[in-house]
Symmetry: C2
Subunit: 333 residues, 2 copies
Amino acid sequence: MSDLRRDPITDRWIIVATDAPKTPADFERETHVRDRGTCPFCPGNEGMTPPEIAAVRPDGAAPNTSGWSLRIIPNKFPALRIEGGFDRTGDGIYDLMNGVGAHEVIIETPDHAKDLADLTEAEIEQVLWAYQRRSLDLRGDRRLRYLLIFKNYGETAGASLVHAHSQLIALPIVPKRVNEELRRADEYFEFRERCVFCDLIRQELEDRDRVVFETPEFLCFAPFASRFPFELWIMPKTHAADFGQIAQAQIRDLARMMRMTLRQVKRTLHDPSYNFLVHTSPVFDHIREEYHWHIEMMPRLTRVAGFEWGSGFYINPTPPEEAARILRQSSAS
Amino acid sequence: MSDLRRDPITDRWIIVATDAPKTPADFERETHVRDRGTCPFCPGNEGMTPPEIAAVRPDGAAPNTSGWSLRIIPNKFPALRIEGGFDRTGDGIYDLMNGVGAHEVIIETPDHAKDLADLTEAEIEQVLWAYQRRSLDLRGDRRLRYLLIFKNYGETAGASLVHAHSQLIALPIVPKRVNEELRRADEYFEFRERCVFCDLIRQELEDRDRVVFETPEFLCFAPFASRFPFELWIMPKTHAADFGQIAQAQIRDLARMMRMTLRQVKRTLHDPSYNFLVHTSPVFDHIREEYHWHIEMMPRLTRVAGFEWGSGFYINPTPPEEAARILRQSSAS
């Protein structure tokens, strides 16, 4: 079990692993871990992972055998566990609770050599469908307040296994960054009776200089106050608070947008490490209709220094207008 | 000149470099930059840096020549420039202003082979004195609202030069993270008429299990909700909002605490990259007396993954109680 602890100064919740605390020697060892030995995500090695939650098996084979095209498994070293109650407690000025939640892995393809960017539109659609399916399944658990879907690609981005995969973490709290977005969306809606994200999309579509790609349903743009060089946001053009309610046709369009964007980033930025996250409304009690779900993608081109960490104030060496121009141009060529 | 831009969703301000925007090729090159060629921070190479702002020269030599024991210079590639006005403007839902501010470098020692941890207490005292001196000087400029003093040590922590140095950035805005701390300190004071940091210190001194070191004036502890393994905060035990008002005797005590902490981190964690930041009250208009200045130190032992970036929700593999125990034990041996 792990602890969930709240920082009394910033209200940030963090997960502290208490089962097998890492010591200085563990960090030394980690630096030397590389892609070697047998890959637990490859077909034929299904026994190396916990039993699967779901899979796509075109050939109708038995669970936990090869023949799948996509596989969803519990994380072998989960940050949170699904069993047990919260036991919310206080300790003087501190608040904590048990690390209850879910931590799952979506293996995106059986092909060890391919990343998401290398998949077909249909294959990416299947990955997005898996995101949606797990989102809808997990919201049945009333203890969970937020579903965070994300991908770490490349060592710099924090990936510990090279085989293409995304992760899903279901949390008993709403993460700080999402809470901030919700608060602002709420304030803005109170004040203007409009969605701040919809206004933002309207302005980006007018200005055009930060837009990278547009499809019938989605916009990919470099945000005005990008924290990182070549940071990209993908947003549905029509207001929608909840990723879980995405329609089939929209998934198809999003798959096309994701493929274009990922391929472009890979080609133009020389296959960088990257992270992306799905930001969506909390699911507890009710959907927050003033929110607008979107995907934030961050190629990891620069090291984030102490200045950024400790201040929440970022220095970005590439203006988003320039990043968008480079990505658009490279596309045309 | 650079832009200061505000994210309309999170109110985060960021600096965008607009002078010489970095392109994909620049990021490729950067990966290969290492410690080579002539060090601009070494004695004898004073001509390679912009003219010095101040220096400690025991031998009374002329400015910008060797013989100094500490040197303060403008950053050669500043994130912000001191000249000009803000030109605060709006662009639809976006806010921006000119990148007015200061960006200085404190060269901590003439010895290329030493880090701050390797200096004597008297030498560290001199570095802290330089922090204070620049803090007091820069607050005369009424355009500046916040002084951020920080250090990046090691490549992983974002240091671009190996020669021991700290940095100071004077900003026309209060950074997001500090604003959050201020807001909470303010709310807590309203509610309890006590400082939240003072309450935290009181509890840490009672619990003892997160305390690493204690001196007459300072406490070094692993915070309850540490974001990173072996994260450490150094805090004055007596309430003080403003680092700039630190007394001479306190500086001496802090130098001792910094030296103990840095040496312990270096020894126990095998000389890791690290960042530290001085969190202090904004200086504009008045000191925020409900705040409590402190230093946050983060050894860079793990890669921060997408999950953390995009959610503001951290997973820490080492409980702070365990980190503190390891650091205390290693000290005794």
